[in-house]
Homo-oligomer: 236 residues x 2
C-alpha cells in the first residue's frame, strides 16, 4: 500500500478527506500537511493537529507560504481590517464577481507545494477536499472540477507520472460530506470551520451557516459548540 499526503486544514471537508485516505491507505501510510498562507483563523492549525492525532496519521507537518502575495489582495480571510461577510454560500454563489473570501489562486499554491512534498517523501497520492458547494456557480473557481482536472493533469505530467491528485468530495454537496464524515467516524467535534476562528464557532459566517445547514439536512446535530443558539428542530 503506497503512501498518501492529505492537505488538512482541520475543517470538516479536509478531515473527511483524511479519513477517506486512511480507509484507502491505512493510517500508517497517510501524512498530513497544513499550509499557512496568512489566514486569520490560526485555530485551524491546532484543529488539524488534533485531527491528525485522532485519526492516527503517520505525521503532520505545517509549512508556510510567502505571505505577501496573498496579504495584498484584500481577502477577508486574511485582511485584519476586513470582517468576513455574513452571507451564505448560496448568496455568495448568487452574487456576481469574486467572493470576498477568495484568496488569489490559493489552491494551486497549496497543491503545488503539497506535490513537491509528496515527491520528496515518496507519496503517490495527494488528497484534497473541495466539494460541489464550493464550486457552485463558480463561487470559488479554484474548487471547480475544471480546475481540479487541470491541476490533476499538471501534477501527473509534471512529476514524471509519480503523483496523482485525488479529489473525492468534488461531486458532493456539504450534506453529503457531513454524512460521509459520520459514516467514517471522523472526530467531528475536533474539526474547525468558522471563518472567524471562533471556538465556540460564530454560527454566522458563510462556512458556519453552510455547515449548520448541512447537518440539518441529514437530520443530525453538529457536535461542535456554537456561540449563538441554533434551532436543531428534531435533529438527533
Amino acid at each position: 500500500m503506497g503512501k498518501a499526503l492529505v492537505l488538512l486544514s482541520g475543517g470538516l471537508d479536509s478531515s473527511t478527506c483524511a479519513a477517506m485516505a486512511v480507509k484507502a491507505h491505512g493510517a500508517e501510510n497517510v501524512h498530513a500537511l497544513t499550509i499557512f498562507y496568512g489566514q486569520k483563523h490560526q485555530t485551524e492549525i491546532e484543529a488539524a493537529k488534533n485531527i491528525a492525532e485522532a485519526l492516527g496519521l503517520a505525521s503532520h507537518s505545517v509549512v508556510s507560504l510567502p505571505l505577501e502575495p496573498f496579504k495584498g489582495a484584500g481577502s477577508t480571510l486574511i485582511d485584519p481590517d476586513k470582517p468576513n461577510p455574513e452571507l451564505t454560500y448560496q448568496q455568495i454563489a448568487e452574487s456576481t464577481g469574486p467572493s470576498p473570501t477568495y484568496v488569489p489562486f490559493r489552491n494551486a499554491n497549496l497543491l503545488s507545494l503539497a506535490t513537491a512534498i509528496a515527491l520528496r517523501d515518496g507519496c503517490e497520492e495527494v488528497y484534497y477536499g473541495p466539494h460541489a458547494e464550493d464550486a457552485r456557480n463558480f463561487a470559488y473557481p479554484d474548487c471547480t472540477p475544471e480546475f481540479n482536472g487541470a491541476m490533476a493533469n499538471a501534477i501527473f505530467v509534471g512529476t514524471y507520472f509519480k503523483v496523482k491528485l485525488i479529489t473525492p468530495l468534488q461531486w458532493m454537496m456539504k450534506a453529503d460530506v457531513a454524512w460521509t464524515a459520520l459514516e467514517l467516524g471522523v472526530p467531528i467535534e475536533l474539526t474547525h470551520s468558522c471563518y472567524n476562528g471562533k471556538r465556540p464557532a460564530c454560527g454566522k459566517c458563510p462556512t458556519c451557516v453552510e455547515r449548520i445547514e448541512a447537518f440539518k439536512a441529514i437530520g443530525v446535530k453538529d457536535p461542535l459548540p456554537y456561540e449563538i443558539q441554533i434551532d436543531w428542530g428534531d435533529c438527533r
Copy 2:
C-alpha cells in the same frame, strides 16, 4: 494595453521571454518576478535585476518560496553536497529516470505564486519561458507543452478567467531562442545560465553546454565570458 508579469530567472530563456512581453505590452507595463527556492546559483537573482533594468521594466521583485520542500529532494541545483552533472541536455534527455537537476514540481510552484501576484497586481498575462529542448524526451516534465497546457487551464479557470499563461518559447529549440534574443535586442551579455553559478560561466554544466551549442548553431559567438576556452570556429 494590459499589464503582464514575467517569471525572470536572469537566464537567456526568461530574458527572451521578457523581451517578448515588452514587445507586446510595452516595458512600462511589464513587471518581473524572480523566485528563490534554494538554488545554489544566486548569481541569477543579480542577473535578473540587471536584465529588468536594461529592458526598462516597470518593476522587479524577488519572493522566496519555503525551502524545505525543495531542499530535501536532492536536486543538484540545490544540494550543496551534490555537484551538477557534466552532461548535455541531449544526454539528460536520453538517460532514463528523473534528471539529477530536476527540482520537485518546481515550475508549478513558480507559476502558482506568479499567478497569485499577477492577480494581486492586476496583470492579465504571466510570461514563462520553458522551451522544446527542456521538454525533449520528457527530461523536465514540468517544461512540456502538456504540463504548460494543464497549468494554463488551471490558471485561467482558477482566477475567474482573469489571468492567461503565455509560453512563447515552448515550441522553440535553444538555437531558436538565441536567435530570437538577438533579434529582440536582449542584453545577452547580462544574462546568466550556468548551473554552477559561475561568472565567467563554467562552460561544462548542462545549461552552459546547451547554450554554447545554440549560439554555434546560429553562427554567433555568445558574448558571455567562459572560464574554459570555447572553439567558436567561424562564428561572427
